[in-house]
Protein backbone atom coordinates (compact mmCIF):
# COMPACT_ATOMS: atom_id res chain seq x y z
CA UNK A 1 0.00 0.00 0.00
CA UNK A 2 1.14 3.50 -0.80
CA UNK A 3 2.58 5.19 2.29
CA UNK A 4 1.70 8.61 0.85
CA UNK A 5 -1.98 7.60 0.86
CA UNK A 6 -2.02 6.69 4.56
CA UNK A 7 0.05 9.67 5.68
CA UNK A 8 -1.99 12.03 3.48
CA UNK A 9 -5.29 10.64 4.74
CA UNK A 10 -4.42 10.83 8.44
CA UNK A 11 -2.77 14.24 8.21
CA UNK A 12 -5.64 15.74 6.17
CA UNK A 13 -8.16 14.51 8.76
CA UNK A 14 -6.12 15.89 11.69
CA UNK A 15 -5.39 19.25 10.04
CA UNK A 16 -9.04 19.73 8.99
CA UNK A 17 -10.20 18.85 12.51
CA UNK A 18 -7.84 21.31 14.21
CA UNK A 19 -8.53 24.18 11.81
CA UNK A 20 -12.32 23.74 12.07
CA UNK A 21 -12.21 23.45 15.86
CA UNK A 22 -10.21 26.68 16.11
CA UNK A 23 -12.56 28.44 13.68
CA UNK A 24 -15.74 27.31 15.44
CA UNK A 25 -14.43 28.16 18.89
CA UNK A 26 -13.87 31.78 17.88
CA UNK A 27 -17.52 32.35 18.72
CA UNK A 28 -19.81 35.07 17.50
CA UNK A 29 -18.61 38.46 16.33
CA UNK A 30 -19.12 40.72 19.42
CA UNK A 31 -20.77 43.40 17.29
CA UNK A 32 -23.31 40.92 15.90
CA UNK A 33 -23.99 39.68 19.40
CA UNK A 34 -24.52 43.26 20.62
CA UNK A 35 -27.02 44.00 17.83
CA UNK A 36 -28.82 40.70 18.35
CA UNK A 37 -29.07 41.14 22.13
CA UNK A 38 -30.38 44.69 21.71
CA UNK A 39 -33.01 43.58 19.20
CA UNK A 40 -34.18 40.73 21.42
CA UNK A 41 -34.33 42.96 24.50
CA UNK A 42 -36.12 45.81 22.82
CA UNK A 43 -37.89 44.68 19.68
CA UNK A 44 -39.40 41.28 20.36
CA UNK A 45 -42.83 42.83 20.78
CA UNK A 46 -42.38 46.38 19.47
CA UNK A 47 -40.86 44.74 16.46
CA UNK A 48 -40.45 47.49 13.82
CA UNK A 49 -37.28 49.52 13.55
CA UNK A 50 -35.32 51.52 11.01
CA UNK A 51 -31.60 51.38 10.39
CA UNK A 52 -31.27 55.01 11.42
CA UNK A 53 -33.06 54.50 14.74
CA UNK A 54 -31.15 51.34 15.61
CA UNK A 55 -27.78 52.83 14.64
CA UNK A 56 -28.50 55.73 16.99
CA UNK A 57 -29.44 53.43 19.84
CA UNK A 58 -26.37 51.24 19.41
CA UNK A 59 -24.04 54.10 18.57
CA UNK A 60 -22.63 52.45 15.44
CA UNK A 61 -22.51 53.63 11.84
CA UNK A 62 -25.47 52.91 9.55
CA UNK A 63 -23.23 51.18 7.01
CA UNK A 64 -21.92 48.74 9.63
CA UNK A 65 -25.45 48.11 10.87
CA UNK A 66 -26.76 47.52 7.34
CA UNK A 67 -24.07 44.88 6.82
CA UNK A 68 -25.03 43.15 10.08
CA UNK A 69 -28.74 43.33 9.30
CA UNK A 70 -28.11 41.82 5.88
CA UNK A 71 -26.48 38.80 7.53
CA UNK A 72 -29.25 38.53 10.12
CA UNK A 73 -31.82 38.79 7.32
CA UNK A 74 -30.11 35.97 5.40
CA UNK A 75 -30.39 33.82 8.53
CA UNK A 76 -34.05 34.75 9.01
CA UNK A 77 -33.62 36.53 12.32
CA UNK A 78 -34.79 39.87 11.01
CA UNK A 79 -36.91 40.65 7.95
CA UNK A 80 -37.39 43.79 5.88
CA UNK A 81 -41.10 44.57 5.63
CA UNK A 82 -41.58 46.27 2.25
CA UNK A 83 -45.00 47.83 2.90
CA UNK A 84 -43.73 49.46 6.10
CA UNK A 85 -40.19 50.15 4.82
CA UNK A 86 -38.89 49.00 8.19
CA UNK A 87 -37.18 45.96 9.64
CA UNK A 88 -38.78 43.54 12.09
CA UNK A 89 -37.28 41.02 14.46
CA UNK A 90 -38.76 37.64 13.61
CA UNK A 91 -40.06 35.65 16.51
CA UNK A 92 -37.69 32.78 17.25
CA UNK A 93 -40.04 30.14 15.87
CA UNK A 94 -40.76 31.92 12.60
CA UNK A 95 -39.19 29.93 9.76
CA UNK A 96 -41.00 31.73 6.92
CA UNK A 97 -39.25 33.40 4.02
CA UNK A 98 -39.17 37.23 4.32
CA UNK A 99 -41.79 37.43 1.54
CA UNK A 100 -44.15 35.05 3.33
CA UNK A 101 -43.53 36.76 6.67
CA UNK A 102 -44.51 40.13 5.15
CA UNK A 103 -47.61 38.46 3.67
CA UNK A 104 -48.53 36.94 7.03
CA UNK A 105 -48.18 40.34 8.72
CA UNK A 106 -50.34 41.97 6.06
CA UNK A 107 -53.09 39.35 6.25
CA UNK A 108 -53.17 39.16 10.05
CA UNK A 109 -53.26 42.97 10.22
CA UNK A 110 -49.81 43.29 11.78
CA UNK A 111 -50.43 40.73 14.46
CA UNK A 112 -47.54 39.44 16.56
CA UNK A 113 -46.52 36.32 14.59
CA UNK A 114 -45.34 33.69 17.09
CA UNK A 115 -44.82 30.70 14.81
CA UNK A 116 -44.63 30.40 11.07
CA UNK A 117 -43.52 27.39 9.02
CA UNK A 118 -44.52 25.16 6.17
CA UNK A 119 -46.17 21.76 6.33
CA UNK A 120 -43.68 19.15 5.13
CA UNK A 121 -45.65 15.94 4.51
CA UNK A 122 -43.19 14.94 1.79
CA UNK A 123 -40.50 14.32 4.39
CA UNK A 124 -42.14 11.08 5.46
CA UNK A 125 -43.55 10.18 2.06
CA UNK A 126 -42.11 6.89 0.84
CA UNK A 127 -42.54 7.92 -2.81
CA UNK A 128 -40.52 11.12 -2.23
CA UNK A 129 -37.73 9.14 -0.59
CA UNK A 130 -37.81 6.46 -3.31
CA UNK A 131 -37.67 8.96 -6.19
CA UNK A 132 -34.53 10.52 -4.73
CA UNK A 133 -32.98 7.14 -3.98
CA UNK A 134 -33.63 5.86 -7.51
CA UNK A 135 -31.67 8.74 -9.06
CA UNK A 136 -28.67 7.78 -6.93
CA UNK A 137 -29.04 4.02 -6.52
CA UNK A 138 -29.48 3.06 -10.19
CA UNK A 139 -26.12 4.46 -11.38
CA UNK A 140 -24.43 3.43 -8.11
CA UNK A 141 -25.54 -0.19 -8.42
CA UNK A 142 -24.67 -0.20 -12.12
CA UNK A 143 -21.19 1.08 -11.23
CA UNK A 144 -20.61 -1.64 -8.63
CA UNK A 145 -22.04 -4.32 -10.92
CA UNK A 146 -19.64 -3.19 -13.65
CA UNK A 147 -16.62 -2.98 -11.32
CA UNK A 148 -17.38 -6.41 -9.84
CA UNK A 149 -17.85 -7.90 -13.33
CA UNK A 150 -21.44 -8.89 -12.60
CA UNK A 151 -22.61 -7.24 -15.81
CA UNK A 152 -20.83 -5.74 -18.78
CA UNK A 153 -22.28 -2.41 -19.86
CA UNK A 154 -19.28 -1.38 -21.92
CA UNK A 155 -20.81 -2.18 -25.37
CA UNK A 156 -23.69 0.24 -24.67
CA UNK A 157 -21.82 2.95 -22.79
CA UNK A 158 -18.78 3.25 -25.02
CA UNK A 159 -21.06 3.44 -28.05
CA UNK A 160 -22.64 6.58 -26.59
CA UNK A 161 -19.41 8.08 -25.27
CA UNK A 162 -16.39 6.94 -27.27
CA UNK A 163 -12.94 7.36 -25.69
CA UNK A 164 -14.20 6.69 -22.16
CA UNK A 165 -14.16 3.63 -19.94
CA UNK A 166 -17.55 2.32 -18.74
CA UNK A 167 -16.65 2.77 -15.04
CA UNK A 168 -15.82 6.44 -15.60
CA UNK A 169 -19.05 6.94 -17.57
CA UNK A 170 -21.03 5.37 -14.71
CA UNK A 171 -19.33 7.67 -12.19
CA UNK A 172 -20.40 10.57 -14.41
CA UNK A 173 -23.98 9.22 -14.40
CA UNK A 174 -23.79 8.91 -10.61
CA UNK A 175 -22.79 12.57 -10.32
CA UNK A 176 -25.70 13.57 -12.56
CA UNK A 177 -28.06 11.38 -10.50
CA UNK A 178 -27.00 13.07 -7.25
CA UNK A 179 -27.63 16.49 -8.78
CA UNK A 180 -31.04 15.47 -10.13
CA UNK A 181 -32.05 14.07 -6.72
CA UNK A 182 -31.04 17.32 -5.01
CA UNK A 183 -32.85 19.41 -7.64
CA UNK A 184 -36.05 17.35 -7.21
CA UNK A 185 -35.75 17.84 -3.45
CA UNK A 186 -35.47 21.62 -3.94
CA UNK A 187 -38.46 21.71 -6.29
CA UNK A 188 -40.64 19.84 -3.77
CA UNK A 189 -39.53 22.13 -0.94
CA UNK A 190 -40.27 25.18 -3.08
CA UNK A 191 -43.68 23.80 -3.99
CA UNK A 192 -44.69 23.24 -0.35
CA UNK A 193 -43.51 26.75 0.44
CA UNK A 194 -45.98 28.10 -2.09
CA UNK A 195 -48.78 25.97 -0.80
CA UNK A 196 -48.60 25.06 2.83
CA UNK A 197 -47.80 27.95 5.18
CA UNK A 198 -49.11 27.78 8.73
CA UNK A 199 -48.95 30.95 10.81
CA UNK A 200 -49.87 31.42 14.47
CA UNK A 201 -50.57 34.99 15.59
CA UNK A 202 -50.96 36.15 19.19
CA UNK A 203 -54.40 37.64 18.50
CA UNK A 204 -55.42 36.28 15.11
CA UNK A 205 -55.04 32.60 16.02
CA UNK A 206 -54.04 30.11 13.34
CA UNK A 207 -53.97 31.08 9.65
CA UNK A 208 -53.05 28.58 6.95
CA UNK A 209 -53.01 28.04 3.22
CA UNK A 210 -55.71 25.75 1.87
CA UNK A 211 -54.58 25.43 -1.73
CA UNK A 212 -51.85 26.45 -4.15
CA UNK A 213 -51.14 30.22 -4.26
CA UNK A 214 -53.58 30.73 -1.41
CA UNK A 215 -53.40 33.83 0.80
CA UNK A 216 -53.85 32.16 4.19
CA UNK A 217 -57.57 31.74 3.64
CA UNK A 218 -57.87 29.05 6.31
CA UNK A 219 -58.53 30.68 9.67
CA UNK A 220 -58.97 29.28 13.17
CA UNK A 221 -59.57 32.32 15.40
CA UNK A 222 -58.03 32.19 18.85
CA UNK A 223 -61.40 32.21 20.63
CA UNK A 224 -62.59 29.17 18.63
CA UNK A 225 -59.67 26.93 19.55
CA UNK A 226 -60.85 24.06 21.76
CA UNK A 227 -57.88 21.76 22.05
CA UNK A 228 -54.54 20.97 20.49
CA UNK A 229 -52.63 17.71 20.33
CA UNK A 230 -49.44 16.24 18.80
CA UNK A 231 -49.35 12.99 16.85
CA UNK A 232 -46.14 11.34 15.72
CA UNK A 233 -46.36 8.35 13.39
CA UNK A 234 -43.68 5.64 13.39
CA UNK A 235 -42.23 7.05 10.16
CA UNK A 236 -42.12 10.53 11.67
CA UNK A 237 -40.36 9.19 14.76
CA UNK A 238 -37.76 7.42 12.62
CA UNK A 239 -37.39 10.57 10.52
CA UNK A 240 -36.90 12.62 13.68
CA UNK A 241 -34.13 10.31 14.89
CA UNK A 242 -32.17 10.44 11.64
CA UNK A 243 -33.58 13.28 9.55
CA UNK A 244 -32.73 16.94 9.40
CA UNK A 245 -35.68 18.72 10.97
CA UNK A 246 -38.10 17.11 13.44
CA UNK A 247 -41.66 16.93 12.17
CA UNK A 248 -45.00 15.83 13.58
CA UNK A 249 -48.73 16.27 13.04
CA UNK A 250 -50.62 18.88 15.02
CA UNK A 251 -54.33 18.29 15.54
CA UNK A 252 -56.46 21.28 16.40
CA UNK A 253 -60.09 20.99 17.48
CA UNK A 254 -62.18 24.12 17.15
CA UNK A 255 -65.70 25.27 17.87
CA UNK A 256 -68.04 24.81 14.93
CA UNK A 257 -65.78 22.31 13.21
CA UNK A 258 -67.06 18.82 12.55
CA UNK A 259 -63.59 17.42 12.07
CA UNK A 260 -60.38 18.59 13.71
CA UNK A 261 -57.90 20.44 11.48
CA UNK A 262 -54.71 18.44 10.99
CA UNK A 263 -51.47 20.20 10.11
CA UNK A 264 -49.28 17.48 8.65
CA UNK A 265 -45.59 17.08 9.39
CA UNK A 266 -45.07 20.52 10.90
CA UNK A 267 -41.46 21.40 11.74
CA UNK A 268 -40.84 21.49 15.52
CA UNK A 269 -44.31 20.16 16.44
CA UNK A 270 -43.72 20.30 20.19
CA UNK A 271 -42.91 23.99 19.99
CA UNK A 272 -45.94 24.63 17.78
CA UNK A 273 -48.08 22.82 20.34
CA UNK A 274 -46.71 25.12 23.08
CA UNK A 275 -47.33 28.21 20.97
CA UNK A 276 -50.95 27.22 20.30
CA UNK A 277 -51.47 26.35 23.98
CA UNK A 278 -49.97 29.67 24.97
CA UNK A 279 -52.23 31.75 22.72
CA UNK A 280 -55.22 29.79 24.05
CA UNK A 281 -54.14 30.70 27.59
CA UNK A 282 -52.80 34.18 26.82
CA UNK A 283 -49.40 33.37 28.28
CA UNK A 284 -46.55 34.55 26.06
CA UNK A 285 -43.80 35.58 28.43
CA UNK A 286 -41.87 32.32 27.97
CA UNK A 287 -40.80 33.51 24.50
CA UNK A 288 -38.68 36.26 25.97
CA UNK A 289 -36.84 33.79 28.19
CA UNK A 290 -35.78 31.70 25.21
CA UNK A 291 -35.64 34.26 22.40
CA UNK A 292 -31.92 34.95 22.67
CA UNK A 293 -30.91 31.30 22.67
CA UNK A 294 -33.21 30.30 19.83
CA UNK A 295 -32.24 33.30 17.70
CA UNK A 296 -28.57 32.50 18.13
CA UNK A 297 -29.32 28.87 17.34
CA UNK A 298 -31.04 29.97 14.13
CA UNK A 299 -28.10 32.22 13.34
CA UNK A 300 -25.87 29.17 13.54
CA UNK A 301 -23.57 31.10 15.81
CA UNK A 302 -24.18 29.29 19.06
CA UNK A 303 -23.11 25.71 19.58
CA UNK A 304 -26.42 24.34 20.74
CA UNK A 305 -24.84 22.07 23.29
CA UNK A 306 -21.74 23.36 25.07
CA UNK A 307 -18.65 21.23 24.77
CA UNK A 308 -18.42 20.77 28.53
CA UNK A 309 -21.35 19.76 30.69
CA UNK A 310 -24.70 19.79 28.95
CA UNK A 311 -26.67 22.85 29.90
CA UNK A 312 -29.92 22.38 31.78
CA UNK A 313 -31.04 25.97 31.31
CA UNK A 314 -34.64 26.23 30.29
CA UNK A 315 -35.59 22.71 31.27
Amino acid sequence: MDLFFIIGLISSIIVAFLITLKWLNKGMNPLYERVLNHLIRKYLDERYFTVHKLADELNITEDTLRRILKTLEARRIVAFIPHKKQYALLDPLVFLTPKDYARALRITKDDNILYGAYEAPYRVDILYILIQLIFILVPLLAFFAQVLNMIDLSPYLTRIFPNARPEVILLFFLGMGIILADAVNNVIKGYTREKMSVVVGALSGISYDKHFADELSGRLPRKDLKSVDIRLSLLQKIHNYFGEIPVGDIIVEYRGGKKPEVFRSMPFPRELFYVIRSIMLGHLEWRKRHAETISKWKAGSLPTVPMGRRSRRGR
Binding site: G8, F161, L171, D182, A183, T304, M307
Partner: protein
Protein backbone atom coordinates in the same frame (compact mmCIF):
# COMPACT_ATOMS: atom_id res chain seq x y z
CA UNK B 1 -55.27 24.51 33.37
CA UNK B 2 -53.69 27.71 34.68
CA UNK B 3 -51.00 29.28 32.56
CA UNK B 4 -48.50 28.98 35.43
CA UNK B 5 -48.89 25.22 35.35
CA UNK B 6 -47.50 24.96 31.87
CA UNK B 7 -43.85 24.18 31.89
CA UNK B 8 -42.47 25.36 28.61
CA UNK B 9 -39.63 23.16 27.61
CA UNK B 10 -38.05 25.09 24.85
CA UNK B 11 -34.49 24.15 25.47
CA UNK B 12 -31.25 25.33 23.97
CA UNK B 13 -31.15 22.65 21.35
CA UNK B 14 -34.59 22.67 19.78
CA UNK B 15 -34.05 19.34 18.12
CA UNK B 16 -32.62 17.43 21.10
CA UNK B 17 -35.92 16.12 22.51
CA UNK B 18 -36.72 14.47 19.20
CA UNK B 19 -33.42 12.65 18.87
CA UNK B 20 -31.91 9.48 20.33
CA UNK B 21 -29.76 10.01 23.42
CA UNK B 22 -26.13 10.95 22.81
CA UNK B 23 -24.95 7.52 24.01
CA UNK B 24 -27.37 5.78 21.64
CA UNK B 25 -26.22 8.00 18.74
CA UNK B 26 -22.56 7.17 19.36
CA UNK B 27 -23.32 3.47 19.86
CA UNK B 28 -25.28 3.35 16.62
CA UNK B 29 -22.50 5.11 14.73
CA UNK B 30 -19.81 2.81 16.09
CA UNK B 31 -21.93 -0.27 15.32
CA UNK B 32 -22.45 0.96 11.75
CA UNK B 33 -18.68 1.40 11.36
CA UNK B 34 -18.00 -2.09 12.72
CA UNK B 35 -20.60 -3.50 10.34
CA UNK B 36 -18.87 -1.70 7.45
CA UNK B 37 -15.47 -3.14 8.44
CA UNK B 38 -16.95 -6.65 8.61
CA UNK B 39 -18.52 -6.29 5.15
CA UNK B 40 -15.29 -4.94 3.67
CA UNK B 41 -13.27 -7.71 5.30
CA UNK B 42 -15.47 -10.57 4.14
CA UNK B 43 -16.57 -9.23 0.75
CA UNK B 44 -15.75 -11.97 -1.78
CA UNK B 45 -14.14 -9.55 -4.21
CA UNK B 46 -10.46 -8.74 -4.42
CA UNK B 47 -10.20 -5.12 -3.29
CA UNK B 48 -6.91 -3.39 -2.52
CA UNK B 49 -6.41 -2.12 1.04
CA UNK B 50 -6.50 1.45 -0.29
CA UNK B 51 -9.92 0.85 -1.81
CA UNK B 52 -11.18 -0.73 1.39
CA UNK B 53 -9.95 2.28 3.38
CA UNK B 54 -11.58 4.63 0.86
CA UNK B 55 -14.92 2.83 1.16
CA UNK B 56 -14.66 2.84 4.94
CA UNK B 57 -13.92 6.58 5.19
CA UNK B 58 -16.65 7.37 2.64
CA UNK B 59 -19.25 5.33 4.55
CA UNK B 60 -18.10 6.89 7.85
CA UNK B 61 -18.65 10.34 6.32
CA UNK B 62 -22.02 9.53 4.74
CA UNK B 63 -23.64 7.98 7.83
CA UNK B 64 -22.19 10.50 10.31
CA UNK B 65 -24.88 13.21 9.91
CA UNK B 66 -27.68 10.61 10.00
CA UNK B 67 -26.61 9.17 13.33
CA UNK B 68 -24.72 11.91 15.18
CA UNK B 69 -27.28 14.63 15.77
CA UNK B 70 -25.60 16.62 18.51
CA UNK B 71 -24.29 19.94 17.25
CA UNK B 72 -21.26 21.50 18.87
CA UNK B 73 -17.80 22.63 17.82
CA UNK B 74 -16.35 19.15 18.40
CA UNK B 75 -18.98 17.26 16.39
CA UNK B 76 -18.86 19.79 13.55
CA UNK B 77 -15.06 19.63 13.46
CA UNK B 78 -15.28 15.85 13.26
CA UNK B 79 -17.78 16.16 10.41
CA UNK B 80 -15.54 18.46 8.41
CA UNK B 81 -12.46 16.32 9.05
CA UNK B 82 -14.39 13.26 7.82
CA UNK B 83 -15.32 15.23 4.71
CA UNK B 84 -11.72 16.17 4.00
CA UNK B 85 -10.56 12.60 4.68
CA UNK B 86 -13.25 11.08 2.45
CA UNK B 87 -12.56 13.48 -0.43
CA UNK B 88 -8.81 12.90 -0.15
CA UNK B 89 -9.27 9.12 -0.23
CA UNK B 90 -11.80 9.19 -3.09
CA UNK B 91 -9.73 11.55 -5.27
CA UNK B 92 -6.53 9.60 -4.60
CA UNK B 93 -8.00 6.17 -5.33
CA UNK B 94 -10.02 7.33 -8.36
CA UNK B 95 -7.05 9.04 -9.97
CA UNK B 96 -4.88 6.00 -9.26
CA UNK B 97 -7.32 3.46 -10.68
CA UNK B 98 -8.96 5.51 -13.41
CA UNK B 99 -6.20 7.94 -14.32
CA UNK B 100 -7.90 9.72 -17.22
CA UNK B 101 -6.84 8.64 -20.70
CA UNK B 102 -8.82 11.22 -22.67
CA UNK B 103 -10.24 14.71 -22.27
CA UNK B 104 -13.75 13.25 -22.01
CA UNK B 105 -12.68 11.07 -19.08
CA UNK B 106 -11.05 14.06 -17.38
CA UNK B 107 -14.31 15.98 -17.66
CA UNK B 108 -16.41 13.02 -16.46
CA UNK B 109 -14.28 12.59 -13.37
CA UNK B 110 -14.29 16.36 -12.84
CA UNK B 111 -18.10 16.44 -12.85
CA UNK B 112 -18.31 13.44 -10.50
CA UNK B 113 -15.82 14.92 -8.04
CA UNK B 114 -17.35 18.40 -8.23
CA UNK B 115 -20.85 17.08 -7.52
CA UNK B 116 -19.64 14.72 -4.81
CA UNK B 117 -17.51 17.44 -3.21
CA UNK B 118 -20.37 19.95 -3.01
CA UNK B 119 -23.08 17.51 -1.98
CA UNK B 120 -20.96 15.72 0.63
CA UNK B 121 -19.99 19.08 2.11
CA UNK B 122 -23.66 20.11 2.26
CA UNK B 123 -24.51 16.74 3.77
CA UNK B 124 -21.87 16.92 6.51
CA UNK B 125 -21.71 20.62 7.25
CA UNK B 126 -25.08 22.35 7.29
CA UNK B 127 -23.62 25.80 7.81
CA UNK B 128 -22.58 25.98 4.16
CA UNK B 129 -25.96 24.85 2.91
CA UNK B 130 -27.90 27.25 5.09
CA UNK B 131 -25.67 30.28 4.75
CA UNK B 132 -27.19 32.59 2.15
CA UNK B 133 -24.33 34.98 1.54
CA UNK B 134 -23.24 36.75 -1.61
CA UNK B 135 -20.08 34.63 -1.71
CA UNK B 136 -22.07 31.42 -1.65
CA UNK B 137 -24.00 32.51 -4.74
CA UNK B 138 -20.79 33.58 -6.49
CA UNK B 139 -19.15 30.26 -5.61
CA UNK B 140 -22.21 28.35 -6.86
CA UNK B 141 -22.01 30.37 -10.12
CA UNK B 142 -18.32 29.54 -10.60
CA UNK B 143 -18.97 25.84 -9.93
CA UNK B 144 -21.92 25.89 -12.37
CA UNK B 145 -19.68 27.46 -15.04
CA UNK B 146 -17.09 24.70 -14.55
CA UNK B 147 -19.91 22.15 -14.69
CA UNK B 148 -21.17 23.67 -17.96
CA UNK B 149 -17.78 23.55 -19.69
CA UNK B 150 -17.16 19.97 -18.52
CA UNK B 151 -20.62 18.77 -19.56
CA UNK B 152 -20.39 20.43 -22.97
CA UNK B 153 -17.04 18.74 -23.57
CA UNK B 154 -18.57 15.37 -22.66
CA UNK B 155 -21.74 15.78 -24.72
CA UNK B 156 -20.10 17.26 -27.80
CA UNK B 157 -20.32 14.01 -29.74
CA UNK B 158 -21.28 13.51 -33.40
CA UNK B 159 -24.64 11.87 -32.59
CA UNK B 160 -25.80 14.95 -30.64
CA UNK B 161 -24.11 17.82 -32.43
CA UNK B 162 -22.71 20.98 -30.85
CA UNK B 163 -25.97 22.92 -30.64
CA UNK B 164 -27.95 20.19 -28.87
CA UNK B 165 -24.95 19.57 -26.57
CA UNK B 166 -24.88 23.29 -25.76
CA UNK B 167 -28.60 23.37 -24.91
CA UNK B 168 -28.47 20.21 -22.75
CA UNK B 169 -25.34 21.49 -20.97
CA UNK B 170 -27.00 24.84 -20.27
CA UNK B 171 -30.16 23.19 -18.91
CA UNK B 172 -28.22 20.82 -16.64
CA UNK B 173 -25.94 23.64 -15.46
CA UNK B 174 -29.02 25.59 -14.34
CA UNK B 175 -30.27 22.43 -12.58
CA UNK B 176 -26.85 22.06 -10.95
CA UNK B 177 -26.85 25.70 -9.82
CA UNK B 178 -30.39 25.36 -8.46
CA UNK B 179 -29.43 22.19 -6.60
CA UNK B 180 -26.37 23.63 -4.86
CA UNK B 181 -27.45 27.17 -3.96
CA UNK B 182 -27.96 27.71 -0.21
CA UNK B 183 -31.28 26.34 1.01
CA UNK B 184 -32.86 26.39 4.47
CA UNK B 185 -34.29 23.04 5.43
CA UNK B 186 -37.57 24.43 6.79
Amino acid sequence: MKSEEIKFEIVEDLTRPYRLSLKAQIALYVLSLIFTVVILYYIPVPLSLEMKIMYFVAVAAIIYPYTIKIINALSESLALSLYVGAMFAIIYVLLKIYSPASLREVMMLLIFLEVLGVELLNHLFNRFRWSRSKWMYVLAGVLAAIFFVALFTILNIPTLGSFIALIISAVFSVVFYYAIIPERPF
